[in-house]
């Protein structure tokens, strides 16, 4: 009998352990934002109790979380009988969690989604297409990134584009002009290298949003669509020019060897530590760098990205969509929620707080970035000079497979020539496109 007792105890312990493991994966449950009793909005007699589940990416600061929970509470006040079940999902875990949710049929009604993922989940049949025209003057590139076969799946919420950030004090001391082209960037870099201890500009092996747009700058495309079939286009003179420029910036010794595995965070960190004179980064990078090193505030300035030989200077339009899920039962209410969140006032308060720009042109104009010389550049960059990656479900797999990262890292390591690298990029992209 004692043996059996022990077995029972072990079985129970195992069950507890297994259950505990499951718990760790769950998203952070936010306390009921409807804690305060509704006094003014007396519920209608016939208003039925409805609930809307919403997933928002964890913004990483209490201030921003409060802005979101306040908006959600305001929405609940306007809609009697509706309670919003709001959950914050960490960015790192978000893609896996959407996969699990759709695969397991346990989807939220509304979610914020990174705009490069929207086509991927839309093509899988996980998302609900937006019916009719979407209202509002959205930034084109952000709408485009949510299109699949002509149908829109994502409402742009906020957006960001990277621009050129540089040390005004260094440029003034050396009498340098802001570089408008790649050649000027190299010339300016040579002067900085010769005259100061600073790295002119850091590149990073794991920084797709700096590398990939350079294909556009050279006048090329990442991939082209014809009759619904995408074909990779990096193995082209323009693609080679972009990879060669990136490799050149590295091979000149303007970045440490470790930059092969650096990401945008390391680039920003080096700039914040006053180790580099120029960087490519977003408004959020600039804000973080100044946050780490307040002395920088008076020393930095911003400009549009230097144009490549193709005369193009587009940045990648990154951002977030609001999406609805195919299996949700609350499409109408979900849409009302999204439209509520996208009003100018809501969206600009939120975007300002996270260091991004609203996904609407009028929202950008209402935001505090407009008029601030340091941050105004990012608004101009995204409204006038931004583009989106190929809007295809395969892009998620290309990103996940680190196609660009692997190729440029091997070039930086000296394991591949530029010609081999762009051929490898195209081969892997075409594989993802199903060719």
């Amino acid at each position: 009998m004692r043996v059996q007792h022990r077995m029972l105890a072990v079985a129970a312990a195992l069950a507890v352990t297994v259950a505990a493991c499951g718990n760790g994966e769950e998203v952070e449950e936010v306390e009921d934002v409807n804690g305060v009793e509704d006094t003014d909005a007396a519920p209608d007699e016939d208003a039925e109790e409805r609930s809307l589940s919403v997933w928002i990416m964890q913004p990483g600061s209490d201030e921003v979380e409060n802005i979101i929970t306040d908006s959600v509470a305001a929405f609940e006040d306007e809609h009697a009988g509706v309670s919003v079940d709001l959950q914050f999902v960490p960015w790192d875990a978000a893609h896996d969690q959407f996969v699990t949710a759709i695969g397991g049929g346990q989807v939220p009604d509304v979610a914020e989604m990174g705009n490069t993922w929207t086509p991927e989940f839309a093509e899988m049949g996980g998302l609900a297409a937006i019916e009719g025209e979407i209202d509002g003057d959205y930034i084109d590139a952000i709408v485009d990134s949510g299109l699949v076969e002509g149908e829109a799946y994502g409402y742009p919420w906020y957006a960001g584009a990277r621009a050129f950030i540089y040390r005004q004090d260094v440029f003034d001391d050396l009498g340098l002009e802001v570089p408008d082209t790649w050649e000027e960037l190299l010339e300016v870099g040579e002067v900085i290298e010769a005259e100061t201890d600073l790295d002119p500009i850091n590149v990073a092996g794991n920084y797709v949003h700096m590398l990939a747009p350079m294909v556009w700058h050279a006048g090329g495309q990442l991939a082209v669509e014809s009759d619904g079939q995408w074909t990779a286009a990096v193995d082209s003179p323009e693609g080679r020019a972009a990879f060669e420029m990136y490799a050149e910036l590295f091979e000149r010794g303007w970045s440490p060897q470790g930059a092969i595995t650096w990401s945008s965070v390391d680039v920003r960190e080096a700039f914040a530590n006053e180790d580099a004179a120029m960087m490519i980064g977003g408004g959020w990078d600039l804000a973080a760098a100044i946050g780490n090193n307040p002395e920088l505030e008076d020393k930095v300035a911003t400009a549009l990205l230097p144009a490549g030989p193709g005369g193009n200077q587009d940045a990648f339009a990154g951002g977030s969509h609001f999406v609805q899920f195919a299996e949700s039962d609350e499409h109408e209410l979900g849409r009302e929620f999204i439209e509520f969140m996208l009003q100018d006032e809501q969206v600009s308060t939120f975007a300002d707080a996270v260091g991004f720009l609203p996904g609407t042109v009028s929202g950008v104009e209402a935001s505090s970035a407009a008029g601030d010389p340091l941050y105004d550049t990012f608004a101009t960059q995204i409204i006038d000079h931004s583009a989106s990656y190929p809007s295809t479900g395969a892009w998620g797999a290309i990103e996940g497979n680190q196609v660009f990262v692997n190729a440029i890292q091997q070039v930086m390591q000296g394991d591949l020539t530029v010609d081999e690298a762009v051929a490898q990029v195209d081969e892997q992209m075409n594989e993802a496109f199903g060719q």
């Binding site: 022990r6 893609h95 695969g103 470790g258 998620g396 497979n401 990262v405």
Partner: protein, 332 residues
């Protein structure tokens, strides 16, 4: 282990002797009805009581394993997971694994890296346990300090270590340069696989050795003083006492620890995911990372499942070998 086997043989003996004084459940002589009752009490009732927990465990552990096995023979993307329609493709995924040079390399890397970590963890764990087993001042403080890495969440620890190993701003390079090793100024740990695996290995071993150390320490304290005393009187040196007396006595414990460490180190994920994400250029990918990449970034759940099954088979095989060794050990 010891007490469990004693109890088993004790109760078995008790049942044979029919109501002897050392029996836990006295069995009264009686007719068939009593027999049924007795059968129910001894055989059925325990299983009945176990049933809820067993069902839960089979649901939570058994179902995923069966499902993974099933998926590994199918072409399963996200859409087919939702709809449930998927094509049976037989052993194609397994053929792909054998035919793909990158995945073959992943298996080799996983085995070499995993075994290296097991060896390092065991050596460090035993060494620290021997140290803690000696009476000296501050021993308990050290004991608590040793436990701390084990208590730290792996992702948080890996993030901190990633910064410690940072090429420009990392403490590791700074310390090495202060020690006179100028070559480590700006040394990039993660740009090639060997130093990257060294750095990751440090973090894995750092997180794993406390468990081994504390377990071995408990084992060391169960080694009777008389035996050591006798060995000392016979003229055995400290090294001989460790090699010929202590370690052989702890062998069953050490084998169990090796099994557990092997399972942990073969499926290491968090540390690599945080520190290199398998890069640069997929050179630090191990089996767990490759499985995750196929399933969750490529949405190729079939291939991901096949990789997971391969891991399952390898770990089961290793565990069986070790269990055989433990059995032989106990049989002596």
């Amino acid at each position: 282990m010891m007490s469990a086997s004693t109890t088993t043989s004790g109760s078995r003996r008790g049942r044979n002797s029919r109501g002897g004084p050392d029996v836990g459940t006295p069995v009264l002589p009686g007719g068939p009805r009593r027999f049924t009752r007795q059968w129910f009490d001894n055989r059925a009732l325990p299983w009945l009581l176990l049933a809820p927990a067993l069902l839960l465990i089979f649901g939570l552990v058994g179902y995923p394993v069966v499902r993974t096995f099933y998926l590994s023979f199918h072409e399963a993307g996200l859409a087919s997971l939702v709809s449930g329609d998927m094509d049976f493709i037989g052993l194609d995924h397994y053929r792909h694994i054998i035919g793909d040079p990158h995945l073959r390399r992943v298996f080799l890397v996983t085995v070499v890296f995993g075994l290296s970590c097991v060896v390092a963890t065991m050596v460090l764990g035993v060494a620290v346990a021997l140290l803690l087993n000696r009476p000296f001042k501050g021993r308990w403080v050290l004991g608590v300090l040793v436990l701390l890495p084990w208590a730290m969440p792996r992702v948080a620890a890996a993030t901190v270590w990633q910064w410690l190993f940072h090429d420009q701003y990392g403490l590791v390079n700074w310390v090495l340069v202060q020690l006179g090793l100028e070559g480590f100024d700006g040394y990039a740990w993660f740009i090639s696989p060997l130093p990257a695996f060294f750095a990751i290995g440090v973090v894995v071993v750092w997180g794993a050795f406390p468990f081994v150390a504390i377990s071995v320490l408990a084992g060391l304290q169960s080694v009777p003083d008389e035996v050591l005393e006798a060995a000392r009187i016979d003229g055995a040196t400290a090294g001989q006492r460790l090699r010929l007396v202590i370690l052989p006595m702890l062998k069953p414990l050490l084998l169990v620890l090796v099994v557990i460490s092997t399972i942990w180190d073969f499926k290491v994920f968090d540390q690599i995911y945080v520190m290199t994400q398998g890069g640069p250029a997929r050179s630090t990918e191990v089996l767990a990372i490759a499985t995750w990449r196929e399933a969750f970034t490529q949405l190729n759940f079939g291939l991901g499942s096949a990789l997971a099954m391969a891991m399952f088979v390898i770990l089961t095989a290793i565990t069986i070998v070790y269990i055989r060794m433990i059995r032989e050990e106990e049989g002596l």
